[in-house]
């Protein structure tokens, strides 16, 4: 490893805040881009499931 200790890795000779902020922002962007479609998908199935269930109930009521 280029750094001799973990503390040095975090500090990065004074440039630590800059480097770690960048990587943190990158992680945020990556997570946002992964979570956002997952949430959309889950929301879709929830809503559509509800609609489908309601349609089925209405059909059953019509048959009765």
């Amino acid at each position: 490893m280029y750094f001799s200790s973990f503390a040095e890795l975090v500090a990065m000779e004074g440039h630590g805040p800059y480097v770690w902020t960048c990587y943190a922002i990158a992680l945020t962007v990556i997570l946002f881009n992964l979570i956002s479609p997952i949430l959309k998908r889950r929301h879709f199935f929830t809503v559509q499931g509800r609609i489908l269930r309601r349609e089925r109930q209405q059909k059953q009521q019509q048959q009765l």
């Binding site: 490893m1 004074g14 630590g16 480097v19 902020t21 960048c22 922002i25 998908r41 199935f45």
Partner: protein, 251 residues
Amino acid sequence: MAKSWKMPKWFYQLGSPRWFYDISGRLLPWFSVAAGVLLIAGAVWGLAFAPADYQQGNSFRIIYIHVPSAVLAQSCYMLMAVAGAINLIWKMKVADMIATCCAPIGISLAILALATGAIWGKPTWGAWWVWDARLTSMLILLFLFIGVYALHSAIEDEVTAGKAAAVLSLVGLVNIPIIKYSVEWWNTLHQASTFKVTEKPTMPPEMYLPLILMVVGFYCFFAVTLMMRTRAEVLRREKRAGWVRELVEAN
């Protein structure tokens, strides 16, 4: 203006949303694993094992985020424009959906490139923002993305919105070389000294190998997030189709 050249059969099969949903479902795990492995390996290598730059010190490690995100932002725009063109010429729904999903991803990638570029500037040049050619071009690219996204959101009818956004992204695509050339030229006029931010070809392999890992990893990540978004879009637009209903039932 809409010329339709005769394409082979598999080309039209690409236009089926269901086919896209199935095949993307099968590709997702592979690309996800690849993205995860490459990004983690590249980041660890770049952060902990690569040597620091002689002039810039450890802040140089930001390159492993800045360059991949910049490259991806540009590729994302090109894909958006090409997908839009395919939608305009062959009226393929899947192309329209892919183009629509590219815009928000491109915006986030361009913002990432700009933010990391600006943060990199502070220890390197002492300022949070410099009007250098690359950052300015990336800023303009961000505006182009925002324009396409804004136009798409402003039009209510989805099909019309997709077509209008496609025209705009194509106009932007034609302009991008002109914009790049003019910004670079403008920059040489107004900068006393040119700071070359990245990739001198004289980078030793310990420095540019992790960069390659990160670029490929970012491409895989882009594929993953684009596929996920487009799948959600396919479901939403095709919600009346039989196969979607079966999927809903299964859940």
